[in-house]
Each structure stands twice: as structure tokens, then as C-alpha cells.
Symmetry: C2
Subunit: 247 residues, 2 copies
DNA sequence: CGGTGACTTGAGCATCGTCAACATTCGTGG
DNA sequence: CCACGAATGTTGACGATGCTCAAGTCACCG
């Protein structure tokens, strides 16, 4: 079973066995982090690029009055900061939420991939563009949807992304995040997140229990959240990703 | 005087005279659009990539209940959809707000730039990454700032971007957008935009008159909006952009 | 002039935030 | 294994921010 990183890139390009092997080799050396540790801070110009292999991290930015906005949830297989291979300075911070395994990859290695491995390079570019598409959808979420739908939409997205890398089963996936942190991601107060979550549970749509999200009725949740996964740009539909097929 | 496109790329890479000439040649053939015309729609897989040379366009997405969210304001020099050179399908639409001049560039031309003009390629990649940084800042804006500060912050950003391409003078720049459209960009109702704008005017910070934004006190507005232009990643400070200097 | 689109204003209401108290869970050390 | 404390989740009351509806004004243009 390939790791989450290889699985994710495979969603965006037709990797050859050599490509797969090459990528797997890159993720051999893993670093273990605890919860609430900073990977990079705003203003840093790090040597390495970071990749999440396991666990959960967030991209976030803090305003002057101390409000923290989470701008991305980084799941297994996600790059944290591929852009600093091009732009020098970080304009935001990245921290773990849970115990997390990361891989540190030197900028040089990235440049080598870009120059000598066109398929991988293409996949990397795709993931960057999809990150942007996800960000756009989050903006729509904050700007145009009220709290219950907003939360439901986020859960739909996370389910789709987790399922695509093989980390969701039966509508259930791991999400070790507090209600307060959910609020920081969704632009809502903790109390309001709590009330909205209970409403979603009462409506038999989703439930967040412990560190897991359990979707009770996927079709109804998709309809309720107005969820359309097009923006994730998977090559294959997540449902059929297990069977290899050619279009 | 180079056009807005060349000026903008010059903010992100040290273009040689040949690069400049090459880019200028690409923007010879211009297409004129009226206000409220669609450039591309969600679901399209267009042949060409589009570039705004003059005027104003928006990236937007509409939810099921008809609410429209504007996810980006495309100023002169901005690419609309560079990503569809990689990802096939548009997951959002692009429309003009005012009379606008665009350039249609074939995907092949982009690929040629990427393969044969490393400096330009690097600049293009940078602009894409900065687009993402701007999007992140918009997310912070919607998630963590109340209406007056939210509007002020947007005006600060637009001023910085306009000034960087030579389209702001004396704190004043053109912004042919209605209050309703401003609301669509900021996740606010038209009425609330109106009231917030009047409060900003009463505070002698900024005024929107006709199709222009007039900043009355830039320093105070920056402070009020908590504006920090780092996320725009200009190579040189906009203020000193006219003098060439080496770091 | 008449009409259309943009802006302005007021009143009432919905959504969501704040504060404060309380309940529950979980990890830790006794 | 129990006891404790800290972090998280839950609930109620109240207030603020922002939305809706509706009417009216203003500027622009045919």
C-alpha cells in the first residue's frame, strides 16, 4: 500500500512505477511532532519544504486583535509550503493539531523533481492549483453560507479528500480538532460551532464524536451542504479510485 | 512605458530586455469587452488563457440559493485562468465589471514560456502563488474582521496593487464597482456596505466616489485596517519601485 | 423628461458573538 | 485504581453585528 503522499499525487497524474518508487524513497525519513507544535512561522525563510505524512496540521494567520484564522487543513499527503521553493518568505504559520509525522524535503530536491521528472512536476503543480481551488471554496463558504451549511460543507470536503487517500471508511474519518479550532477555520465562535453541530446531529446528517466525524447520510449531507466536488479536480471519481481504469 | 502586464511580472522577476520585448509582443492583439460580459464560465475548458490589460474583471462563484461570491478582483496585468493550462476544467466563472481589454493567449504559448524562458516562467509561477496568498488574506478578512475594517483592508490591498503597476496616484485609483458588487466580494449585504462606507468617510479614512477610491489618510487607513503588504511579495517596496536598485 | 440603476435611510429581525456557569472527558500523578 | 485538575464540550441569557424589506433620493442617459 503506497503512502498518503504517493496516493495523493496519483490522483493528479499517471505516475510510472519509477515515479512511485522515487517518491516513496523521498518519504523514508520521518520526523515526529506532538500536538500544537509550530512547523514554520510567519516571516521564516526555511531551508526545507514540509510534507504531512500522518496526522493533522493547519495553515493559519493571526490578526492584530488576536483572532486566529485557519486558512487550510493539511491532511496526510499534503504539502505545507511548496511555495517557499519560489517565494522566499512565509506570510503565514503552520502548526500541528495532533501528533503528526512530517517529511522535510530540501528545496533542491523539489527543483530536481521539477526539472527532471515532468510527470511528478505536473502533479505537484496540480496539487498547488487545487490548494488554491480549495481556498476559493472556503472563501465562498465564509462569505455566502450560514453556519450549519458552512460546517456541513467543510465536512463534505474533508470526507472527499480523506476518502481519496484511503482514510475514510463508511462515511467516517479521523479529525482530531476541537470545536474552538473548527470555529477558527470557519469564522465562527466556539459556542456557535457547538450549537450548529448539535443541530446537524439532530437532523441526522453528521456527528462529530471524539476525534472522528461520522457522516450519517452522505447523500442528504451533500444536498444540504450544496456540495459539488468538482473543485477538487480528482482525475478519477473518489468512489471508483480503487479500480484502475483508463478514460 | 511598458504595459501593466510587463510591469507586473517585473515585480516578481528581473526581466531581461529580451524578456520584456517577448512579453510585450504577446500582448499586441487586444480584445475589447463591455461591462458584465462573461469571459469564461464554470465548466468550460477553454483553448486560450486570458489576461486583463485594462479595466476590471472578477473571479466568482454562485451558490445554490443564488448568492454570488467574488473570489478575486482581476486588475490590469493579472492572469484570469493561468491554471487551466494545467487543470482542464474551470471550477468558477470570470466576468468583466467594466469595459475591459483582454488578451487571449494559447495554452501552447504558455507552455513555450514555461519551457524556454526560465525567468518568465519563474515570474508566472510567482504570480500564481501570490494569487493564492491574496486569497488567504481575503479568507482572513471574511473570517476574522468586521465590516468596516474588512472594507478598509480591501482598499489597502487594491491601492498597493494598483500603485505597484503605476495606476494609483496620490492615494487615488479607479475602481468601477458598485456597492452591491463590493458586498459580493466581502460577504456583506449592499445596505451594510453602504453604511460602512459612510462610516469610513466620516472617519476621514477613505472615500469611494463615482468609480474612484480616494484614500484620505494612508497611514491611518493602514493602521485601522491592520494592513501589512508582506503577503503581496513584491520584490521592491511599491514606493521605491520607480528607482531601480539592487538588494 | 421619464426611466433605470445606484445609492441612501429607517425599522425590525435573524444570525451569530460574548459572558458566565456548569458538565464532561481525559490524562496524570498519588 | 482513584482523585484531581485542565481542557473540552454544553447551556442560558443577553447584546452586537449584519440582513431584509421597503421606501425614497439621486445621478445619469436615452
Amino acid at each position: 500500500m503506497p503512502n498518503a503522499f504517493v496516493r495523493k499525487l496519483g490522483l493528479y497524474a499517471d505516475l510510472s512505477p519509477e515515479d512511485t518508487e522515487h517518491l516513496t524513497a523521498l518519504t523514508k525519513v520521518v520526523r515526529d511532532l506532538g500536538p500544537n507544535e509550530d512547523l514554520i512561522r510567519e516571516g521564516d525563510t526555511p531551508e526545507n519544504v514540509h510534507l504531512v505524512l500522518n496526522g493533522l496540521a493547519v495553515r493559519h494567520k493571526t490578526t492584530v486583535d488576536g483572532t486566529r484564522q485557519i486558512a487550510a487543513l493539511l491532511l496526510p499527503g499534503d504539502f505545507c509550503d511548496l511555495h517557499i521553493a519560489i517565494l522566499d518568505t512565509m506570510d503565514h504559520s503552520i502548526s500541528t493539531l495532533a501528533p503528526t509525522q512530517v517529511v522535510d524535503i530540501p528545496r533542491k530536491t523539489i527543483l530536481d523533481l521539477v526539472n527532471n521528472h515532468p510527470t511528478i512536476s505536473n502533479a505537484l503543480l496540480s496539487t498547488t492549483l487545487v490548494d488554491e481551488a480549495i481556498l476559493r471554496e472556503w472563501l465562498v463558504n465564509l462569505g455566502a453560507r450560514r453556519s450549519e451549511i458552512r460546517i456541513a460543507h467543510l465536512f463534505c470536503e474533508l470526507h472527499a479528500r480523506m476518502q481519496a487517500i484511503g482514510l475514510a471508511s463508511n462515511g467516517t474519518f479521523s479529525l482530531p480538532i476541537t470545536q474552538a479550532q473548527l470555529g477558527e477555520a470557519l469564522g465562527l465562535s466556539t459556542v456557535h460551532v457547538n450549537r450548529s453541530l448539535m443541530a446537524l446531529k439532530d437532523a441526522n446528517l453528521v456527528r462529530k464524536h471524539d476525534r472522528q466525524v461520522e457522516i450519517l447520510d452522505l447523500n442528504r449531507l451533500h444536498a444540504f451542504a450544496e456540495f459539488d466536488p468538482t473543485y477538487l479536480h480528482f482525475r478519477k471519481a473518489p468512489d471508483t479510485a480503487s479500480k484502475s481504469m483508463r478514460a
